[in-house]
């Protein structure tokens, strides 16, 4: 094992850049760290080189722990995006620099630099100064310079980022050749998936400082574990299939569940992935014995010519699921969106035209790991919060998710008794939940909860609201602060409900929220609950406003339906609070979802009033969803 990274964490101020990351790179392997900008990938590389100090964690290079060593003592070869060739030295002098530092005799140095110039394809250009070389040539010098002293590992930080496409492709081939020939263990950081595919033996996909998944390019493309990787790499179609027993239903097709993905729940949604190039399209229905999984008949909504291939987008009625295009979800669309690609042809046999109806089928698909719902239950010490914890566990159980229970203690002394209590609780639930983590942190609740949320990615945070704060008027300082700072769904529980059969989604204030419909729908689809969307309008609404509200409701219902949720809508008029509370009582809802508009001071005041009133008046768990974007 040439590079072993263990539990690496790095913070810049309050920002968690690398999050408890562990990875291993085998001898002679080219490992690509693939991630978007700001994912922390460059920081990891810099930590390996010793240019940045980690907060915790260790780096082992070729069996030696180098965590405490300065960059000079690590023997890494580092190639920067901006080349960083020494401008006052010739190409040869640049390459010889590492040897000069190591006091290698001149003749030997010159011989080595000749070899390397040859290796990187710059033979004869050793006497040139950097400003007499092109960008690509400079980067070749940088590569030679990093290889000159036979480094333990080679680290490349977006090395081709500043070059144009043609040069980039040439340099990629050179790098691949050299790496294969020298068998030097290499980590390359990039945001370019094409580059990753072409170069990597192994790819590690990184997001928000965490390594999401590691695997060979083919595995990550065809058999990703997570939906994130499925969407991040390549074009993807992800649909929801419903399981029943050891089979699952998708569209009109009924398939056996592959071994290993069977779960005990009777009706569980599973996410299946198929790539655009594997989608079958034809005008006539598929033959019965063709072995094709027929998704149904779809209508072409878009055809895009993209050079070597054409992208065809289709809408399929009657399919449950949605196609998450990169960075964008189709809101308000009942039909599933499917993307297919076909090679471009000079004389096509078949013309794809917008509006055309085609049969859509599959022969291969891959089942993604259940993403489930990741829930953080914040339990406060000594306040009889078990009921709230149990509510969280039940929610996790019905939603098929994972949960973490967090207690913040103020001193080390009270930690053991807290742990004892939590362990007992865990013992009671472990069998039903399977995945239940305990977390005890020391400090002030607000800060520690914020940190926990930063370090692990949760879908939902559950906060208890105590009888004690009934006396005071507001939500309590902790809850209020967290609501303002978390920027994620917060479920405020004061009186836990034992079931989750009906969900009320309110779009009473601010702009109609898509986020609250999505999260309410996700919960409903996971738990099989019935969802009701409630809109409260002004009495003096113009017909235009009225129409928009109805449109929004319609879109919300379509979205919910596409997620496989049974839903209905209701329209009420102001006053909002009174109607919401009455609806909650009459409809026997178990959960109220309200959207929080963007935190603008004036709005926030009014919204907090309403949220507080609903929490206080409804005596139900209330899920507050911040507006994203």
């Amino acid at each position: 094992m040439s590079i072993v990274i263990t539990k690496l964490t790095k913070r810049f101020g309050k920002n968690l850049v690398v999050n408890n990351l562990s990875a291993e790179v085998n001898d002679g392997e080219l490992f690509v760290l693939l991630g978007g900008s700001g994912s922390g990938k460059s920081t990891i590389l810099r930590i390996i080189a010793g240019l940045t100090q980690p907060n915790t964690g260790t780096i082992v290079l070729n069996g030696k722990d180098v965590t405490a060593l300065p960059p000079q003592a690590r023997g890494t070869g580092f190639v920067f995006q901006n080349y960083s060739i020494f401008r006052h030295m010739t190409a040869a002098e640049n390459i010889q620099f590492g040897l000069r530092i190591r006091r290698i005799p001149g003749a030997q140095r010159r011989q080595r630099s000749e070899e390397l110039l040859d290796l990187v394809g710059l033979a004869g250009l050793g006497a040139r100064f950097p400003d007499q070389l092109s960008g690509g040539q400079q980067q070749r010098v940088a590569l030679a310079r990093a290889l000159a002293y036979q480094p333990a590992v080679l680290l490349l930080d977006e090395p081709f980022g500043a070059l144009d496409v043609k040069i980039r492709a040439q340099l990629r081939r050179t790098l691949k050749d050299i790496q294969r020939r020298l068998k030097v263990t290499t980590i390359l950081v990039t945001h370019d998936q094409e580059e990753a595919f072409e170069l990597a033996d192994q790819i590690g996909v990184i997001e928000r400082g965490s390594l999401i998944e590691t695997g060979s390019p083919e595995d990550l493309y065809h058999r990703p574990r997570t939906e994130f990787v499925a969407n991040f790499i390549g074009g993807s179609n992800v649909l929801t299939a419903q399981t029943h027993g050891d089979r699952m239903r998708i569209g009109s097709a009924d398939l056996p569940l592959p071994q290993g993905s069977r779960r005990n729940g009777s009706q569980m949604p599973v996410r299946i992935l198929f790539r655009p190039e594997t989608v079958l399209l034809q005008a006539e229905p598929f033959a019965v014995d063709s072995g094709v999984i027929v998704l149904g008949q779809g209508r072409i909504t878009e055809r895009v010519f993209a050079g070597s291939q054409q992208r065809i987008r289709l809408e399929l009625e009657g399919l449950q699921g949605d196609r998450p295009l990169v960075g964008e979800r189709h809101y308000g669309q009942r039909a599933a969106q499917i993307e297919a690609v076909r090679p471009s042809e000079l004389h096509p046999q078949f013309h794809f035209v917008k509006g055309q109806k085609l049969w859509v089928g599959l022969t291969q698909y891959h089942i993604l790991e259940a993403s489930g719902f990741k829930i953080l239950i914040c339990s406060e010490e000594g306040r009889g919060d078990e009921a709230i914890a149990e509510f969280g566990f039940r929610l996790a159980e019905t939603a098929g998710g994972r949960s973490t229970i967090l207690t913040v203690v103020d001193s080390a002394a009270s930690e053991s008794s807290t742990r004892e209590k939590l362990e007992r609780l865990r013992g009671l639930w472990l069998e039903r939940l399977g995945d239940l983590e305990l977390r005890i942190r020391q400090g002030t609740p607000i800060e520690e909860i914020l940190l926990e949320v930063q370090e692990s990615h949760y879908d939902l945070v559950i906060l208890g609201r105590h009888a004690r704060s009934h006396e005071t008027m507001g939500l309590g300082k902790t809850v209020r602060h967290l609501l303002e700072q978390l920027r994620m769904p917060v479920l405020i529980v004061q009186k836990p409900r034992s079931t989750l059969a009906r969900i009320l989604i309110c779009s009473a204030v601010g702009e109609p929220g898509k986020a609250d419909v999505h999260i309410g729908g996700r919960l409903a689809s996971l738990t099989g609950a019935l969802a009701t969307v409630l809109h409260v309008g002004h009495p003096g609404e113009t017909p235009e406003q009225r129409r928009r509200a109805e449109q929004h409701l319609h879109a919300a219902l379509s979205t919910l339906e596409a997620m496989g949720v049974t839903s209905e809508s209701k329209i009420r008029e102001e006053p909002a609070l009174e109607h919401i509370l009455r609806e909650v009582e009459e409809g026997e809802y178990d959960l109220v979802v309200i959207g929080a508009p963007a935190p603008r001071a004036t709005r926030r005041l009014r919204w907090h009033d309403l949220a507080e009133q609903i929490v206080k008046g409804a005596h139900r768990p209330v899920l507050v969803v911040p507006m994203v974007e």
Binding site: A49, G50, L51, P70, P71, Q72, R74, G75, T76, G77, F78, F80, N82, S84, F86, R87, H88, M89, F97, G98, R100, I101, R102, A142, R145, A146, Y149, L155
Partner: protein
């Protein structure tokens, strides 16, 4: 078309503003400089050389050159170090410090002289403790050097810091990963990149030191054959009515300054050409 003719006409009618400018500049800049040379050679070449051969004049010129050289050398090191620290390190009070180190440009040199006297002079804040043990920095060559270091401090900094600021962090980091320690990275990677800045900074410092008057006259005590720099000598000779003597030294100083200035000009021109 219209713009073209306008461009042409403005170019031809440029004769008027140019001649006006010359009329202003002639008495303002050119004629005074010419006057130095006219007066310097009035007594003939032999007279010119004779005045220069006087021991006082010889000392003043040598002393000035020595001070200017030492100042350039010391401020070269000090200014580069300051620039390096200010450019590469982030610390509390960094902003304040970068203002302070540039302050000498804005302070009248006479005030600089006064403040040095008030610190190091026999009754000064620190000088009062040195005086009893027989150390007197003021009214001595060392005092002159101190004054010159103070006055010319920003020039080196101003020439080196922009170069350092432009140098990417990765430049130095590359050297570290290759195996260079801090000193080697500075010596082999940073310093060579600063060559241009160091050269022009030193020339500027040298030129300014050569002509320094205000602070020098305060701290030197104007002692002939001990602390008298060339500008002070010129002033003293003028006061005593020895116009020809004063002028000879002045002509030498002016010539030196011209030469320095042209070297600097040529150098910066070449650099800017190379950069484009």
């Amino acid at each position: 078309m219209t713009t073209n003719t306008q461009g042409n006409s403005s170019r031809t009618s440029g004769l008027l503003p140019v001649s006006f400018l010359l009329m202003v500049l002639l008495p303002l800049l050119l004629m005074p400089l010419g006057a130095i040379y006219v007066f310097a050679v009035r007594g003939g070449l032999s007279g010119f050389l004779a005045t220069l051969r006087q021991p006082d004049a010889q000392f003043a010129l040598r002393f000035s050159l020595l001070i200017a050289f030492s100042t350039s050398l010391l401020n070269g090191v000090l200014g580069t170090f300051t620039a390096y620290v200010l450019a590469k390190h982030r610390f509390q009070g960094r902003e304040a410090l970068s203002v302070i180190v540039n302050l000498p440009v804005a302070i009248p040199t006479v005030v600089v002289g006064t403040s040095l006297l008030l610190l190091w002079g026999p009754i000064g804040l620190l000088g009062q403790f040195l005086d009893p043990v027989g150390i007197q920095p003021m009214f001595a060559p060392f005092g002159v050097l101190l004054a010159h270091l103070f006055v010319t401090f920003p020039y080196m900094l101003g020439a080196v810091k922009p170069v350092l600021d432009e140098l990417e962090v990765t430049y130095e980091e590359a050297a570290y990963t290759i195996g260079a320690n801090r000193w080697q990275a500075f010596r082999f990677v940073i310093l060579p990149a600063l060559r241009g800045g160091l050269f022009s900074g030193s020339l500027l410092t040298f030129a300014h030191s050569l002509g320094e008057f205000g602070a020098t006259v305060m701290v030197s005590g104007n002692l002939r054959l001990r602390t008298q720099t060339a500008p002070l000598y010129i002033f003293a000779q003028f006061e005593a009515g020895n116009i020809a003597t004063a002028n000879s030294v002045a002509a030498i100083l002016a010539t030196l300054s011209f030469v320095l200035f042209f070297v600097l000009l040529r150098f910066t021109e070449r650099r800017s050409q190379r950069l484009t």
